[in-house]
């Protein structure tokens, strides 16, 4: 007797089993990893920060849907990639930004930075950061927060109407008068995020909880963010600066080390402020726009770090994370070329 086979048998090519992860499981994991920062943003800035975030996400997903319909390709809004872009874009915006600005930023991120390049996987620049750069150029006034609320018990408050005092962000202080940073903020505040700043960036703690989840899930690798943050933390100290009297000051002078604890703390303050943690763990690690090998990713992180340090120490911007990543995105192809794995049995190239 020969068993007949059902007609519905599939004869596709192998392998006939597959690993657990899919594009959408990866993207939704990133969304989950951003939830702690999302909750913290509302605790810190009030419900309106949540409204900005939701607006950006809805706009990103809707734009993805519309463009995919227009391009007559299959609609993949459930894969979570547009939601991630919307979330990350919102997290780079100040908490009082008008909703329409957030929405337009998402439209740019998805329509131009992603789909004009061919859609998922084809874009060169991180879409969220490209959207953020677009807003800085087109709506720079909307990003300007003249006043920050007094940061106490405002979970329910509306940041636009709250009594606000003028507070400079840690980054701004680090740029204008680094010596004064700890008169305004304690390191602990910087770590848990009770500080002014963009919606999602302030709490290193909340971000690191999410990042730990992604590292355990092996969705992001530690090398890139660690290389990034370490490079910034080192170079902001090691770069020589021109002192008020016109002389060049730097680490080679004994006076620089007069207060070594302060040197360390200043370095830590840089690492914890201005979106560096968010950029390092969630933006620079974007798979599509970062190098494909781990070695390349570490180089990419270090490159971003150098750029941030240059921008912060010598440049006009107090920040630098956004542009450092966008610039490094541009040279990913070169890093990929330099870090090709050695083929089995071949002697390493000299």
């Amino acid at each position: 007797m020969i068993q007949q086979f059902p007609k519905t048998l599939i004869v596709g090519p192998g392998p006939h089993i597959s690993g657990a992860d899919s594009t959408s499981s990866i993207m939704w994991s990133v969304v989950i990893a951003l939830v702690p920062a999302f909750i913290f943003s509302m605790a810190n800035f009030g419900w309106y920060a949540g409204a900005v975030t939701i607006t950006a996400v809805v706009s990103a997903v809707a734009t993805e849907w519309a463009i995919q319909r227009m391009r007559k390709v299959s609609v993949t809004i459930t894969d979570g990639s547009a939601a991630v872009t919307g979330l990350l874009l919102a997290f780079t915006l100040p908490p009082g930004v008008p909703l329409y600005v957030a929405a337009l930023g998402s439209v740019f991120s998805i329509a131009v930075a992603k789909h004009a390049f061919g859609g998922l996987g084809m874009n060169i620049w991180n879409p969220a950061l490209a959207g953020r750069a677009f807003i800085s150029a087109a709506y720079s006034s909307a990003l300007f927060m003249p006043k920050w609320p007094v940061l106490s018990s405002i979970f329910s408050g509306d940041i636009r109407t709250l009594d606000a005092v003028t507070m400079a962000t840690p980054c701004a202080i680090l740029q204008s008068d680094p010596a004064a940073i700890f008169q305004h903020y304690r390191l602990w505040d910087l770590f848990i995020g009770r500080i002014p700043g963009s919606i999602g960036e302030t709490s290193a703690l909340a971000l690191l909880i999410g990042a730990a989840f992604l590292m355990v899930r092996k969705i992001i690798d530690w090398r890139l963010p660690v290389a990034y943050i370490l490079t910034v933390a080192l170079l902001v100290i090691l770069f020589p600066v021109r002192a008020a009297d016109g002389t060049i000051a730097g680490f080679w002078q004994a006076s620089f080390w007069a207060d070594p604890v302060f040197v360390l703390e200043r370095s830590l303050a840089h690492a914890l402020s201005g979106g560096l943690v968010m950029g390092a763990f969630f933006m620079a690690t974007d798979m599509v726009t970062s190098p494909i090998t781990k070695k390349g990713q570490a180089m990419f992180g270090a490159g971003c770090g150098v750029l941030v340090a240059v921008i912060r120490v010598y440049g006009g911007y107090p920040e630098g994370v956004c542009y450092s990543i966008l610039l490094m995105n541009t040279v990913v192809w070169a890093i990929d070329n330099m870090t090709k794995p050695k083929f089995f049995g071949e002697r390493a190239h000299a």
Binding site: M1, L9, I17, T23
Partner: protein, 445 residues
């Protein structure tokens, strides 16, 4: 730390519990066997019987066509009904001898014999292996006698047995090692004598403690090293196994000979033992029948040429089956024709209800395919180049060096079947070569 190969690799769920402890049972020869002439790598054998001929069990029915070919023998006694053109599980069309079983089970003359392999010269051993039509039983079905005759300028120091069985579900090498350890170990000694290797090593993954125990016992005191290896797919790949056991890397385009090694599967060693010490040619082989759509999973000793459908009928098939495979789930082929015969290189028959979704999206550059490639290949770029037809890039991307282990496709979150691109590229290349050859031939005339 136990040993394994360094670069890449994946850990698919091993799924071996269902048949791990099921002893190998004899599968009774069916009424009809269909024995293909092309069961091995190389030229198909040339049929030496015709319709109406009487054949005995173990009688030669196909003669090796040149060195890179293998003899084929009848697995039953009976009458040749016809020769027909038929597909093998590998999708190769070839002449197939259809034999009606008379159930008398009469062996051909002088089979089995009893001879002392120790008294045989390497040349006699190679001849006996070739006469027995032994081919690699791990999947590639490379003629075994070719691997026993290394070129003179390439001395062999290590004979390796592959007892890794890294494909999920399959337990047949495991059972064979548990039940026939002594024969396998003798097979290894025969191999080592043929190639004049001083070292003898058996590589077994540590998820087979019973096999390790049996093989250690059989090898005791005989200068044979039985190594427990860390579990990692594709450790059963020749190059990976050599790397795991000796630390040597076989360069692209080279063979184990080039690093002083020869590797045979444990099943092949068993077949070599049969052919050399008992004059019994390769006419039956052990198979694992498993998968979630098989009702009574088993390990069976099946005559070559038995229709796959007969074996499955014996084990019970759930009609909700989605895929039926010849071989393991990583490198096996999906089949749809129940009359396809069991061949020498088939290590199992799997029937699966759960198969991966057939949706694929664009590459998201996650880098996982690169991380898992045991050869250091860049599968994402290979697929991109092949898709674009960028033939100039094939060489530096090592497209033709890919061993088709499927690790890259297994992990790809975008669901891209990367290894399928490589297979397609290889097929196109061989088609072009063939075309070129024909054009050259025409010019000559």
């Amino acid at each position: 730390m136990r040993r394994t190969f360094k670069k890449g690799g994946v850990h698919p769920p091993d799924m071996k519990e269902r048949t791990r402890d099921v002893p190998i049972a004899e599968f009774p020869a069916p009424a009809l066997v269909m024995i293909p002439m092309a069961q091995h790598f190389g030229s198909p054998a040339l049929p030496v019987v015709g319709a109406g001929d009487k054949v005995a069990k173990g009688q030669l029915i196909g003669k090796a066509d040149g060195r890179m070919s293998a003899n084929v023998h009848s697995s039953v006694s009976g009458k040749v009904l016809r020769l027909e053109e038929k597909f093998t599980p590998q999708g190769r069309a070839c002449k197939t001898v259809v034999i009606e079983n008379d159930n008398s089970g009469i062996w051909a003359d002088e089979i089995p014999c009893g001879r002392d392999w120790r008294a045989m010269s390497p040349k006699e051993i190679v001849e006996a292996v070739a006469a027995g039509g032994v081919v690699g039983m791990g999947g590639a079905a490379f003629p075994a006698h070719v691997k026993l005759e290394p070129p003179h300028e390439k001395p062999i120091d290590t004979a390796i047995l592959n007892g890794v069985e890294c494909e999920p579900y399959l337990t047949i090498d495991h059972r064979l090692m548990v039940e026939r350890a002594a024969e396998i170990i003798t097979g290894l000694r025969i191999i080592a004598k043929a190639v004049a290797a001083k070292e003898m090593v058996v590589g077994i993954e540590s998820n087979k403690p019973e096999a390790l125990k049996a093989m250690n016992a059989a090898a005791a005191g005989g200068g044979i090293r039985v190594e427990a290896l860390d579990v990692k797919y594709p450790q059963g790949g020749e190059k990976q196994l050599i790397a795991a056991l000796t630390g040597r890397e076989v360069p692209p385009g080279k063979l184990p000979f080039d690093v002083g090694c020869v590797v045979h599967n444990v099943g092949t060693a068993w077949a070599i033992f049969n052919a050399v010490a008992k004059c019994v040619p390769l006419i039956e082989r052990p198979l694992t029948i498993s998968g979630d759509a098989i009702e009574r999973p088993a390990n069976l000793m099946v005559p070559i040429g038995t229709p796959v459908g007969a074996v499955i009928e014996h084990c019970g098939l759930d009609q909700k089956v989605k895929k039926i495979l010849s071989g393991g789930p990583m490198m096996g082929m999906a089949i749809a024709d129940p009359t396809i015969p069991v061949v020498k290189g088939m290590s199992g028959i799997l029937a699966l209800k759960k198969v991966p979704h057939d949706i694929s999206g664009p590459c998201i550059r996650c880098g996982r395919c690169i991380e898992v490639c045991p050869l250091g290949g860049i599968a994402s770029e290979m697929a991109r180049a092949i898709e674009a037809g960028a033939i100039v890039d094939y060489e530096h991307l090592h497209v033709f060096d890919c061993m088709e282990c499927g690790s890259c496709s297994f992990v790809c979150p975008a669901g891209r079947n990367l290894v399928q691109y490589v297979r397609q590229a290889k097929e196109e290349a061989s088609y072009r070569r063939e075309l070129h050859r024909k054009q050259q031939a025409k010019k000559q005339i």
